[in-house]
Amino acid sequence: MLRYIGKRILLFFPTLFIITLLGFVIAVNAPGDPVAKMMTAATATGDLTSQSSSMNEQKLLWRKKLGLDLPVFYFSISNLSTPDTLYKIYDKDENMAAARLLDQYGNWEQIQSYYMSCDNFYRGAAQMNLDTAGMDEQKINAGMERLNTLIMESKALKSCYDEDIIQSKLATIGSILSPVSHSEKIRRAFDEVWQSHDAMTSATSKWKNYIPAIHFYGTKNQYHRWLFGDGEFSQGLVRFDFGTSYSSKLPISDILKSKIAWSLFFTLFSVILAYGVSIPLGVRAARKRNGFFDRGSSLLLFILYSLPNFFVAFLLMLLFSNPNIWSVLPASGVKPAEGYPEAAGFFECVKISLPYVIMPLICYTYSSFAFLSRTVRGAMIENLEQDYIRTAHAKGLPEKRVIWKHAFRNSLLPVITVFANVFPAAIGGSVILESIFTIPGMGLEVFNAIAGQDYPMIIAVMTLTGILTLIGFLISDILYAVVDPRINYG
């Protein structure tokens, strides 16, 4: 048995590897530049002044903190035209533009010089000042506006890849530049952009795109860092550090630690409740098959089974926390808005929270409860028809003993199978329920993360749920062996 558990745990690793890889791939492919997103959030909330120099420093710092200055994986499969240092263009949009240009032209040297000249031009434009001497206010305003457009366009140019768009951007910049610029320097920079652009589009080497090449990066990469940490900013997944949330900038593990309690409470409690109710129900229905109780409960359970849980949640809210009909239960939260009274003991807290958790608990429980009862009933019916049950009756065993000791024990296998699926279903389903009832758990956090495009958070919950699922499978496998001695994992 121990050996089996050991084997099983060893088998965890490939699965876990795939789960983490999947999460990581999703996170890397998420649109937009996370650092830029964090910066805009910071400037909007006033955490950060929009001064560009400190902004760039901040950006670099956050890039380092999030590990975005590293290559993505241990190796990369690419083509002959792609350099192994492409990841060093940190800005996600600019990186993407460079990759697309490579896809179009396949000549890295020219693309690089084009990118450099664009960057150079952008820097020059950003440092430009308006010579305001001898101008009236109107002229100054118009000039400032033109200058701002120039800076914006030259920044946008860096993340353009479509030839038509590049042409039109260059044309716009050129038209702005002629009246504004007095400096020869910026003009030369712009000419350089044109020259490098022409070089890029004329000297293409597309054939290089069709020859595969593999670059190895070693352990200094984002995935390795995400898994094992870099010892400086990140501890790694192995030490339960899931990274930093984009929206709150707090470590995700801290957020989850404070949120997991309610999620686990609802999951576990609903599992216990579901098993406690559905097993006797299913057994009773199976014993008096086709009787009144069986038919009634079957119909009811079938209806429950087909009801979507958010619908039930709303119906309950309509009925029980509706000021127009009957407002007995609070509609949201798990405790009063002002929190528990200070001197409240544990039991008092439970008493206060009880009305809050009734409706969510019903919603969590009913569907798995319907499913379980049907499973128990089916398995029991199959077993009660077997010969050994008749034998047990014939040799004069009491009814109870026949049912629970013989038939039920053999019907447990499908019930246990269901158990393995309860955890992921509970946490996955809780995204909807927690957002309806505003329960401060992981599901609500995921819901908010989706709204705020906070991908590390989504991936963290996904990974955690994957781990819980694996544990659920392990437990159910062990339970199989406990219930059925014929199953020998040796």
Binding site: P212, G429, V446, Y455
Partner: protein, 455 residues
Amino acid sequence: MFKFLSFRHKAHSIVAETENKQFSFREYSWKQFKKNKPAYWSLVLLGIWIVLAFLAPVLANEKPLYCIYKSNKLYPAFSFKKTYELTDANGENKEVINLATFDWKRADYDKVVWPWCAYSPGNSDVFNISVSPGGEQVFSKINEELIQSPKKFRHRLGTGKDGGDVFAGLMHGIRYSLFIGILSMLIASATGITLGALAGYFGDSGMKTKRGIFIFCIVGVFFGWYYGFFTRSFALKDAFESGGITFILQLLFSFGILVAVTGLFMLPGKYLSRFSFFRNTINVPLDSIISRLIEIINSLPLFLVILSIAAISRPSFTTLVLIIGFSNWTSIARLTRAELLKVSRLEYIQAARSLGLQNRRIIFRHALPNAIGPALIAIAFGIAGAILTESGLSFIGVGVPPETVTWGKILSEARESTASWWLVVFPGLAIFLTVTMYNLIGEGLRDALDPKLKR
């Protein structure tokens, strides 16, 4: 048990001959299915649903079905034109009206036939925001005088917070739920049945190949992937974001390249087979590979995976269908595998093998028809599950494009106004009815295809 399995195949069994007519398992199970009244009526309801889905653009529409306007006979609801040119009695004096922007409800008709529901989903009726089905509804006449809504223009099932008609939304929502449920399960069953059949039929030792071909096949798959998917990654990405049929076409094109390149690479493998090292036959452990794959996918938290992919990709129906489809094939594959393990040990398959039939033919013509039952049941339940997943996703607000109205989306509008019970009850009932329908069909199939439960 055995008897029935041979029934299923069209072989002339002794029993069938004594019944004096050829026994068809299909006919038998259809008879059994029809005896199960709830399941039968669910199938009828599914038929009605499909008809409604096709007729929805006509049945719930802003434009009249038929009208005589300024002595012109018009059929606006059936028209694909963008504009109408009106003529007066003399055949002169042309007036051009734009079908999309014309104010149909307030026009002065000589005669008019309105559709069942005179509203389109998504269009908002600003005078009736969040009105209840039985409550007061107003209608603005052409002189901007507000009157009690005439019966034709009442919102039968109320409106949402933007004044969108719930009834029209429900009618059009049937399409989306049918579309997503059936198409995603089509993908899932194609994947699941194929992989499950391969795993069950060949097992770990059934598929033998020469070492040279095996090695070159793997190398070929890498290059096929490289040319099919890697070098085309930007084309695929753009297609994925634009969604729709283009993505599927691009994907098929990529798969085509993959297959072609792999085939090309297998040729030198065949040539190399004259050397003894490459000629040795080896087993391809197909069953182990596929079972492990199923195990891994089963331990993924699928709802969260779907959620994260749907949150990242710009939502479109095609991507949603693909995501749900490719994540739900495992149960179908498992059942098909188990069934084929059983069936491929039967004598008629052995006979087919010894006759020298091709494996492909044996699997698809002889083995699969006898093993499809459990998969069919799983597919019926799977459609119900897919519809629930879709409505859950659109309830949260990911997955479907913002301008489309689905049942889950109507329901989610109720979050902002708990007093609007009609936003909860009607779409909820629609989802419930559809899910129940598929579940009942699944149950009916289970009973009908199980020979032990003869009615």
